[in-house]
């Protein structure tokens, strides 16, 4: 008796939660004026004209490109700094190691909203305002990546490293050729987490970037919200363009994303 009820409830809630996203697809690709039709249309028609017209008449492609540049460079850098930091924490003995541990952990306690103003001042003095670097460098490392790598490197048998040092293999080579390939799950989780946070970043570029030409997609959406007020198909198709990469990646790696995000949060608790 309980099982069917549970099943139905699960289905209803799942559908209700995904509905706004589905609705976005319907409005974006629907017929002209379908957003206003009563009763509402619930079937997407796959008209791609609005997307095409927005791409042709605005600088949308530039914003997409900006987002891609920022996201990919951030991912590469986070992998680099995270793997190095994690390796240092797990394998290397140096005075101040526990201080570094606390430094990495403490960052998560700082309320981000309260730091916006002084961070703006710091970027101003580094002459980084209004540059790609402003959107990349401050996010080029993350506590979760450092701790993920630390966890994986700690599990590697010490004999691997002993053999490497006997054979005269350098640390860089050992990291690149042995440790990193064995820590592939940590690499995957870091890539996914960084992709989501970097692609979705909004307030930071809103504050730090004033020139339209390097604005990421998410910030440019607020401009489109005004420019396309009332043109729901165009507006929805622009929003869809920002959503699709996330939905696509999520559809392919749902299991890993859920556990990576939840794991990242749970790591704070330990």
């Amino acid at each position: 008796m309980r099982a069917p009820l549970t099943l139905i409830l699960r289905a209803v809630i799942g559908m209700a939660w995904i509905f706004p996203v589905y609705w976005l697809i319907v409005v974006a690709t629907g017929a002209r004026g379908s957003a206003y039709s009563i009763p509402p249309v619930f079937v997407p028609l796959f008209h791609f004209l609005p997307v095409a017209s927005v791409l042709a008449h605005t600088h949308l492609l530039q914003h997409v490109l900006n987002s891609v540049i920022v996201t990919t460079s951030t991912i590469v850098l986070v992998l680099f700094t995270g793997a190095l930091g994690g390796y240092a924490l797990s394998e290397v003995r140096f005075p101040g190691r526990s201080l570094y541990f606390l430094l990495a952990l403490g960052v998560m306690m700082l309320p981000q909203q309260a730091l916006m103003v002084p961070q703006y001042v710091v970027l101003y003095h580094l002459r980084m305002l209004n540059t790609y670097a402003a959107m990349i460098i401050p996010f080029a490392t993350s506590t979760s990546s450092i701790f993920l790598f630390r966890q994986f490197f700690m599990r590697l048998p010490t004999s691997y490293r002993d053999i490497a040092s006997v054979e005269g293999v350098s640390t860089a080579r050992y990291l690149w050729r042995v440790a990193l390939p064995l820590a592939r799950p940590a690499v995957a989780a870091t890539v996914l987490l960084t992709f989501i946070s970097s692609w979705n970043m909004f307030q930071w570029p809103l504050v730090m970037i004033s020139s339209k030409s390097i604005q990421p997609l998410e910030v440019s959406l607020t401009f489109y919200m005004q420019a396309f007020e009332g043109h729901w198909r165009q507006l929805a198709s622009v929003a869809l363009l920002a959503l699709l990469p996330v939905i696509g990646v999520f559809a392919l790696t749902q299991r890993y994303i859920v556990s990576a995000v939840a794991g990242g949060e749970l790591a704070q608790k330990e």
Binding site: A3, T6, R10, A11, I13, G14, W17, I18, P20, V21, W23, L24, V27, Y36, P40, F80, T81, G85, Y87, A88, V92, R93, F94, L103, A104, G106, L110, P111, Q112, Q113, A114, L115, V117, P118, Q119, V121, V122, P138, A140, T141, T171, W199, N200, F202, V207, E218, V219, L221, T222, M225, L235, A242, L243, F250, Q254, V258, V261, E265, L266, K269
Partner: protein, 321 residues
């Protein structure tokens, strides 16, 4: 006999590895500093230095583009205390947090209990994915569709109210309902994360404990109240802290849903001006950096205090560790 063999082994290992020379130790330390340098520098320059700098500029009459900053002591805080809008923003923030913390926590717990895998039922995975998905979507992109849902004339929200024969609302355009509308969006966007955290908590409850409870006749509400709930204590506490810290700092959805760059954000009539939105507008729209810093310091202290209070409370309430 045995001890001599141990001694032999020890000397053998020492011969193989050699005693650690000062040079080797120094080399390893240098390697360590080199490895942590990039991330440590980023943390220090972009996070810790600003945090320290924050306290400093709050006590100055300070402007980014003018030299000769003047120490004014508590003057900035005095101005704030006499600003009705600042108090209004604190009230709005408190309202937002106080409503969202219990609703988010309870809904996430309910979803987790519903999605918990039953032995012969594997439908939980897809529903879990669908509930979690909004959490990873970009806020502005999904806010756009919610502006449409909250549209008083054509929106889905009023269609549902009409279907239930309830009075229509003006949602984001109404002073009373604007902030609750943002709360609904936030609930939709974030509940999936907390659901998954609760699911992890449920999974960590040993199976035999549940079995023992059901053998003793503990079913349904009784089993939940006496067995599951106490064991979820630590996760519940963690979720409450996380929801509070996240909601007290909400910015993006408030900014986007209530007007975006048109400088109407926070409206109508300041009904949705929360602390973080006011900080943003004061600093980056009106260039009052020292005033905004003073507000930030208040927010900083409030957030830390909230975490600490909850920590103290939890030590009394949570018994399962």
């Amino acid at each position: 006999m045995i001890s001599s063999r141990a001694a032999f082994l020890r000397s053998f290992t020492r011969a193989m590895h050699g005693p650690r020379s000062i040079g080797a130790t120094l080399r390893e330390a240098l390697l360590g500093y080199g490895l942590v340098m990039p991330s440590a520098l980023i943390f220090l320059v972009f996070y810790y230095a600003p945090a320290a700098f924050l306290a400093y500029i709050s006590f100055f009459h300070w402007n980014l583009f003018v030299n000769g900053n003047q120490f004014v002591g508590l003057r900035n805080f005095e101005i704030l205390a006499n600003q009705p809008l600042f108090w209004r923003s604190l009230f709005n923030t408190a309202y937002y947090v106080v409503v969202l913390v219990p609703t988010t926590t309870l809904l996430a717990l309910a979803f987790a209990l519903l999605l918990r895998e039953m032995p012969n039922l594997r439908s939980g995975g897809l529903s879990r994915a669908l509930i979690f998905l909004p959490h990873v979507t970009p806020v502005v992109a999904t806010s756009i569709i919610w502006v449409w849902i909250f549209n008083p004339n054509f929106g889905l929200a009023n269609a549902i109210l009409g279907f239930l024969h309830l009075p229509q609302l003006n949602w984001l355009q109404s002073v009373t309902w604007a902030l609750p509308s943002v709360m609904i969006y936030t609930l939709w966007h974030s509940v999936g994360l907390y659901t998954v955290l609760f699911l992890a908590g449920l999974a960590s409850i040993p199976k035999n404990v549940l079995e023992a409870a059901s053998v003793d006749g503990g079913h349904g509400w009784f089993a939940f109240r006496r067995v599951v709930w106490p064991m979820l204590g630590p996760v519940t506490f963690f979720v409450i802290v996380l929801v509070s810290v996240n909601t007290i700092q909400t910015f993006s959805q408030i900014y986007t849903l209530t007007g975006g760059p048109s400088s109407l954000a926070g409206g109508p009539a300041f009904a949705t001006t929360t602390d973080s939105l006011l900080i943003y507008q004061t600093a980056f729209l009106y260039q009052h950096f020292s005033l905004a810093s003073a507000m930030s310091l208040v927010l900083f202290v409030l957030t830390l205090a909230l975490t600490l209070i909850q920590k103290l409370l939890a030590d009394r309430i949570v018994f399962y560790r």
